[in-house]
Amino acid sequence: MKIFRFLFLLIIVFNGNKLFADEPSSWLKNEIDKILISYQSSDLPNENRFLMIEQTINNNFAGTGIAKFVVGEAWNKASNDIKKEYVKNFKRHLALNIASMMQGYSDQKYELSKSSLDTKSNIILIDMEIFSNTGSVVVTWRVKESKGRYFVIDLIVADISLVVTKRSEFNSMLKSVNYNLSEFNKILYNQNNESYQKIIN
């Protein structure tokens, strides 16, 4: 009986622990499927669909780390409250960007074709090949493991990094508000509202 309990315990532990059971690719596939399935459920209201996608993205992207990276030195000058507000706005902005991109891929087949580890940076690179009738496009997901969980830190489409592009774009906008994160928050908030209206309508 004790042996049975012990084995049962082991199964539960290893089954649940992502570090042991989930290879990064199968974890990523699971999360991508969650997003794509939400697009394929035609009876789901658009607002709810986006909320589901936003939750998936917030749980699986290194939102705070990316948020800090893309505003560069403006982060240092801001107060904690402003930073928190910015991170909240940024996470929604990120979700809107990913949701909008994935919407285009929702009716296409895909496979995770290649997975490798960049030993220098300890970052996992996973290639997702998306097939259309006329060809395919490769999206590379950059994934970092931390405390037994995986987080997406960047997406590369056609050699273009989402994070690097955002940093350049944010830098241009921050320059116009003299690197004031508080002012920038207002712009980001308005842009999010505009993008949100587009995605739900």
């Binding site: 309990r5 539960i12 532990v13 649940g16 622990n17 992502k18 749980n59 290194a62 939102g63 705070t64 780390g65 990316i66 800090k68 990276f69 560069g72 030195e73 904690n80 930073k83 991170v87 902005h93 960007n97 909008s100 991109m101 919407q103 285009g104 490798s116 960049d118 940076s121 970052i123 009738n133 006329t134 060809g135 590379t140 950059r142 970092k144 931390s146 405390k147 037994g148 969980r149 987080f151 830190i153 960047d154 590369i156 056609a158 050699d159 273009i160 990094s161 690097v164 592009t165 940093r167 350049s168 774009e169 830098n171 241009s172 906008m173 712009i187 842009q191 993008s195 587009k198 995605i199």
Partner: protein
Amino acid sequence: MKNIFFLFFFIFLTCFSTNVFSAASDQVDTSSDDFETSQVEDEIYDPFEPINRAIFSFNNVADRIVLEPIAKGYKKLPSPLQTGISNFLSNLRAPLVVLNQVLQGQGENAFQTTGRFFVNSTVGIFGLIDVAEKMGLEEKEEDFGQTLATWGVGDGFYVVLPLFGPSNVRDTTGMIMTMMTDPINAYVVSEGEAWIVPMRTAANAVDQRSKIIDEVNALRDNSLDYYAAVRSSYYQNRNAAINNIDDSELTPLPLISIEFE
């Protein structure tokens, strides 16, 4: 007592294993300065930004009114027809790709592209069917802008060309060299059929645009500064093309931390 202890132990392990304790998303409260150690180039040399932005706005309107609707229409054609047109246009570019591969010292690639051109132009019925790909002859693109970069010519300043879109001094020079040296264009002009040249350019634009409809819309709809986003995307894409390195290896890896409260 033993059973209660076991129950608590079991609950603890189950919660731990299903990440209940670690399920909180990343939080704000740390003071890592990762961004300061990044090697990413933030500033692109763009001394004529106001003029470029004006041309970019014009191009954006032209894209919305003309190019995007045509590209969407093109996407509705039967997929074998789209693939055939795309293959045909790509095959016409092959002679100049070979020349640029030779100029860049890529002997093996030049040999492969030459093989592709002959196989696709004959067995592939004037390039409509990409037979060479199935034979393992992979398609690779090279242009004069890339050749000049390989020879050490710098980007120069960023420029937005009317209708042609983002470029820089070096790539614009490369584009002019392409127009002047393209053997297909030279042939049709010599035959008194110069109208084919702009038609071919337009067909290329529609074909290329049709492949990135969703990506462009996602970028346009969600950008704080669409101009800056396109400028950055252009440089990243060109750097990848110039260096001929796998995208995942090339683009600088941002040093992004995962932060927990």
